[in-house]
Assembly symmetry: D2
């Protein structure tokens, strides 16, 4: 049976032990009824954006990413903050997505999550990301905003997931809100 809400998750960190990846890993557990959540492949294999490269043909990784997003009903971006802004590798993936002819993020429901070891939980990256997503015409959920501070105390390296109950409940609420946004946009 087909799920009503097919969600893909874009992760902004490349390292194996990433806390943000652990947050992303947790999402399928928290999905509301009718929501299927799939983690997208790492963006680490996408080359730096270069319009000379683009003229020679979009990289396969970009086309696959674009296609997966295009088919989905919604997107969750889960990302660390690097230097008060978006990680370069994540911004690069978005820069490529902005050039693909079928504009996969345009009109797409999108939620942002971030996690950090400090208290801000990656907030500064989120507002820069929102500005960029205006350009791509994604429909970004306002609330609840998920900024997981001191994430190192809320995840289990064994399971590779978030165990903290408050965080899980809060993230679950965002997924419900994302489903409602998808319904509105239909």
């Amino acid at each position: 049976m087909e799920k009503k809400y097919e969600i893909v998750v874009l992760i902004g960190s490349l390292r194996r032990g990433s806390f943000n990846r652990m947050l992303a890993n947790t999402l399928p557990d928290l999905a509301p009824e009718g929501m299927a959540i799939t983690l997208l492949p790492s963006i680490g294999a996408i080359p730096h954006y270069n319009s000379d490269t683009q003229e020679a043909g979009f990289p396969q990784e970009v086309l696959s990413l674009s296609s997966a997003i295009k088919k989905a009903d919604g997107v969750v971006i889960v990302t660390p903050e690097y230097n008060y802004s978006i990680p370069g590798a994540l911004k690069n993936a978005i820069d490529w997505l902005s050039r693909v002819p079928d504009a996969p993020l345009a009109g797409k429901a999108l939620a942002i999550q971030s996690a950090s070891m400090g208290v801000f939980g990656g907030a500064r990256a989120q507002y820069h990301l929102r500005q960029t997503l205006v350009c791509l015409d994604a429909i970004v959920l306002n609330k609840p905003e998920i900024m997981v501070g001191t994430v190192q105390s809320k995840v289990s390296p064994d399971t590779g997931k978030v165990f903290d109950a408050d965080t899980r409940a809060f993230v679950g609420k965002q997924l419900v809100a994302l489903a409602l946004l998808i319904d509105k946009l239909r």
Copy 2:
């Protein structure tokens, strides 16, 4: 004879025919007395930041970039705007620079320039870049702000430089202001 102001230029675009590269190419012509301007190698060969990679050792390209900046008296970043923010590849280079132990940008005088085919001249990228550079503790020049709009009408593909007289004069003023900032920080 040693120059009083050794300036290195970091370029945010990777494509061969980049308008921002042409703007950067023009800077040595506009340097005030005593200023030497050197374009840094392309940031295109720097891998995506990944702390797993970092643990295995900083990439040579990052160490070279860091070392060149560390030795300089000042830095000019010349960059396009991608999707209302910093190009991913440029942000990635800065993400690496933020991890290098000797903090090459800390306390360094820095000027930003951007160019675009539209009227904004890359302004949105500059304010995101400024926020990131607070994190790296660079001392960013306030004025004059160089945002070159409709750059395609101001450059010559033959010379690979900006020919527009007003733009050249304005950019020259920023280089003078950068020299004054360097003097203050000494």
Copy 3:
């Protein structure tokens, strides 16, 4: 007969000869079928936000503004940029609106327009405004973005309106997009 889209317009400038007010004055001419556009009273009479004042009772101007927005189907904010950000008086009106119990902007369709004598057309104010409106949970239209540069050459002091045909057409498109957004949110 009741109009399908009742829109109220909040103006960020207080001066009599405001170019942004002229832009706002033009909106009723450009309204698509079924849209009624009403300019809200000046925000100049709203006192500075102070929670001590709030405890003594919300000012009547705030309650009227809140009520007018609450009843509307959508909001257009038309504002100049002051010092690369939102004018203080406009931000102050929004600060009050954020405290009113019935949260008039929450879930409300909203479009932003700005005009300036320079080339940027107030763009920097718009992105700060978008960040603030995330907090108030307004649903801000992504596109088209209306940033009217060199506005002094596009308005007639006699009519107090924008005469420039391209600008009028572009603004009209935003109003159509706002109507579509309102439909989606219903």
Copy 4:
């Protein structure tokens, strides 16, 4: 004997029991050798910026504020965050300062502090404030950044000051850094 560093403090909140005012009240206790710290009068009496008002003459409150800043060696802005940005009343004061002929903030050393009851400590207001201060050409200290979270647990309503030792130490370090910045700019 004249102090080496005359600092004036601009407070972004108007309410009597303001936590940010308590933070400002604490600054004289924490001033390094040779630094005199004076709190500026409330900005609450400054009317909303309106260029019609300006043409009739700058309000006396604006001229006094401008003059006090002009004479000082440095400025500290202590402010809450309202709706993810600068409080309207504070932005309004800055909007006036940007119009005064003698440009009191241009080239002036400036430090930002913010406090909030939440964990972010007003961070979002600070980055918007930094963007605005680029326009006014203030020289804003990068580090340390003072964002006092859960401030309600760190102040004493009896003394009207911050008692938390870590916060006091950290704020003291910023004042030392401000003195160094003033020295550099001389």
